[in-house]
Amino acid sequence: MQRYLVQRILSSIPVLFILAVIVFAVLRVSGGDPAAIIAGKDAPQWQIEAIRNDLGLNKPVYYQLGVYLGDVLQGDLGESINSKKPVVTLIKERIVPTLSLAIMTEILTLPISIPLGVLAAWKANTWIDRGILIFSTLGFSIPIFFLGFLLIKAFALELPWFPAAGYVPPEEHFGNFLHRIILPSLCTAILFWAFLVRMTRATMIEVLREDYIRTARAKGLAEGGVLITHALKNAALPIATVVGWGIAELFAGIVVTEQVFAIPGMGRLIVDSIVRRDYPVIQGCMLTIAVLQVIVNLLTDMSYALFDPRIKY
C-alpha cells in the first residue's frame, strides 16, 4: 500500500511538471505585457521598463521558468501583480465556495444518476430506457449558462423559492449558505447527471450479460438482489473512474456557474485574472486545480480496493 502510494505520487510529478511548463509557455509566449497594463495606458516607456525590471520580466523566459518552478517547490506561488497579495492567500480565500459547489454538485448527482442508469440498463431498449437516454442527451447538449438562466427565471423570478445569485459562507449562516448554493449546484449537476447516467447504463448492460448474473437469476435470487449485489458492485469500478476523471470537467462547469450566479469562487478569480493578465494568479490556480485532479485520481484508484476485494495495493 505504502509503496504503491509513493509510486503513484512520484509518477504524477512529470505530468505536473509538463503542465507547469505548458501553462507558463502559453501565458508568456502569447504576448500581452502585464507591465504595460499595470502602468496604465499613457505611461512613459521608462516607467514600463522599470516595472518589467521589478517583476523580473526582462530576464530570459527559461530563467523565469526556472525561478518560478523553484519557488513552487517551496510552496510559494508568487504574488498577484494586481493586488500584491500572495497567490496562496488569494486561492485560500476563493477555494471554499468552489469546493462547496463541487461537493454539493456531487451530492445532487450521484444518488440520482446511478439509480437512473441502473434502471435504464435493466429496462434496456424499452421506452423507459429511451426516455432516460433522450433526457441525458438533452442534458449535455444544453449550454450550462442557458440552463442557469432558465433555473433563475423559473425558481428565482417566477417562483421566488431561491435567491437569484450570491453566496454566504457556511460558517456565517449555514441555512442561508444551503439556500443559495442549491440552484447553482443543480445547474452544474444536470450536466454531470447526463454524463453519468449514460456511463452507468453502458457498464451495467455489459455486466448484466455475464454468466454469474444468469446463475444468480437461476438460483432464484430476487431481481433487486441481482441488480445491486451482483451487478452494480461489479459495475462500480468503471463508474468510479468516470466520477474521478470528471473533476476537471466539473471545474470547467463551475467556472461558468460561478459567473452566472455571482459566486466569488476560484473560477471567477481565474477569469478576472486572465482579463487583467495577472500571470502568477492564473498559474497558481491552474496548478492547484491540476494537483486536485491528481489527488482525486489517486483517491479513485484507492476506492477500487473497496469495491473489488481482488484488488490490493
Binding site: 512529470p14 505530468v15 505536473l16 509538463i18 503542465l19 505548458i22 501553462v23 502559453v26 501565458l27 502569447s30 504576448g31 500581452g32 434496456a124 431498449n125 442527451t137 438533452l138 449535455f140 447538449s141 444544453i142 449550454p143 450550462i144 449558462f145 442557458f146 438562466f149 432558465l150 433563475i152 427565471k153 423570478l157 449514460r198 456511463m199 447504463r201 453502458a202 448492460i205 455489459e206 476537471a248 470537467e249 471545474f251 470547467a252 467556472v255 461558468v256 459567473q259 452566472v260 473560477g267 481565474i270 477569469v271 486572465i274 482579463v275 493578465r277 492564473i282 490556480c285 491552474m286 486545480i289 491540476a290 485532479q293 491528481v294
Partner: protein, 304 residues
C-alpha cells in the same frame, strides 16, 4: 390512345429503371435508417436546417444584425420583430440567424482540425512506443486543465478573432481524440493482417497508411462529431464570458450575455439564441450517437 400511352411508357420506362438502379440502394438504405435509427435523420435534418440558415442568412428577411434602434428596444416578439428586440433595439431574429454562421464555422473547423491532428499523433503514439511516452504525457497535462479555462487564457492573451477561437478550442479538445485513435491503434497493430503485411516486407509508412489508418476512421468519425457539438458549446461559453470572438459579430453566446441583464422582463433575448444553440448541439449529438451504433456494432450492443 392506348397505343400512344404505351409509346410514352416505353420512353419513360428506361428513365425510371435508370433512376431505380442509381438511387435504389440509397432509398433502401434510407428506409432502413428510418426504421432503425430515426434519431439520425432527425439530427441530420436539424443540421441541414441550421446550415441553410447560415448560408442564406442575408436573404431570410433579416436586417443588419448590428443595427441599433434604441426607441424600439425590448419589443416583444410579434409581426414586426419576429423574435423581438434586445436592450438596444437590435433585431433578435437577424442576430440569431447570423449567429448560426459563427457557431457552425467554429464547430466544423475544430472538428476537422482535431480529426486530422488526432489521426497523426494517435498513429505515432499508438504504433511507436517511444513517441507514446512523450505524446501521451503532454496530452495528459493538457487534459488536466479544465478546457474552458485554458481556452479563455489562449483567446484573451492573443485577442478574439474567429481563427484564434478555433485554434484555442482545437488545442484544448484534440487530446481526447488522440486518446481514442491511440487506443484503437494499440489493438489494430496486433491484428494478423498487420503482421502479415510486416512479414511480406511492407514498409512502416505503408502499413500505417493502408492497414492501420482505415481501422481508426470509424471511431474518429464518431469522436469528431461529438467534438463538433462540444466545440459549438465551448465557443458559446467563451462568447458568454466575454473571451470569444469580438462582440460586434453576432454570436449566440454573446447575445445571451447581453440578454442576462434584462432576463426578468425580456426572456426571449436569452431564450431564443439559447434554444437555437441547444437544438443545434442536440442534433449533432444525435448524429454522433447513432453513427456510433451504426459504425461500431460491438458498442451498439452496449448502447453507450
Amino acid at each position: 390512345m392506348q397505343e400512344q400511352m404505351k409509346n410514352t411508357l416505353s420512353v419513360v420506362q428506361p428513365v425510371i429503371d435508370q433512376v431505380k438502379k442509381q438511387w435504389g440502394p440509397f432509398l433502401v438504405k434510407l428506409e432502413w435508417t428510418k426504421r432503425r435509427h430515426p434519431m439520425l435523420l432527425v439530427g441530420i435534418g436539424i443540421l441541414i436546417l441550421m446550415a441553410l440558415f447560415a448560408i442564406f442568412a442575408p436573404y431570410l428577411w433579416t436586417i443588419d444584425p448590428t443595427a441599433v434602434d434604441p426607441p424600439n428596444r425590448l419589443k416583444e416578439p410579434g409581426s414586426e420583430w419576429w423574435f423581438g428586440t434586445d436592450f438596444v433595439g437590435r433585431d433578435v431574429w437577424s442576430r440569431t440567424i447570423y449567429g448560426t454562421r459563427v457557431s457552425l464555422a467554429v464547430g466544423f473547423a475544430v472538428g476537422a482540425l482535431s480529426a486530422v491532428t488526432a489521426a497523426f499523433f494517435g498513429l505515432l503514439a499508438g504504433y511507436f512506443n517511444t513517441f507514446d511516452l512523450i505524446i501521451m504525457r503532454i496530452m495528459d497535462a493538457i487534459m488536466s486543465i479544465p478546457h474552458i479555462l485554458l481556452a479563455i487564457a489562449l483567446v484573451s492573451m492573443v485577442g478574439g478573432s474567429v481563427p484564434i477561437v478555433i485554434f484555442a478550442i482545437w488545442f484544448v479538445t484534440f487530446p481526447r481524440a488522440v486518446r481514442v485513435v491511440r487506443s484503437s491503434v494499440l489493438s489494430l497493430r496486433e491484428e494478423v493482417y498487420v503482421e502479415a503485411a510486416r512479414a511480406i516486407g511492407a514498409k512502416t509508412p505503408r502499413i500505417l497508411w493502408f492497414h492501420v489508418l482505415p481501422g481508426t476512421i470509424a471511431p474518429l468519425m464518431v469522436t469528431g462529431t461529438l467534438i463538433i457539438a462540444g466545440s459549438i458549446l465551448t465557443e458559446a461559453i467563451l462568447s458568454f464570458l466575454g473571451a470569444g470572438i469580438d462582440p460586434e459579430t453576432p454570436a449566440w453566446g454573446s447575445m445571451m450575455a447581453d440578454g442576462r441583464r434584462t432576463i426578468s422582463q425580456a426572456m426571449w433575448v436569452v431564450g431564443i439564441p439559447g434554444g437555437f444553440l441547444t437544438l443545434t448541439v442536440l442534433g449533432i449529438n444525435m448524429i454522433g450517437d447513432n453513427l456510433r451504433d451504426i459504425l461500431d456494432p460491438k458498442l451498439s450492443r452496449s448502447g453507450t
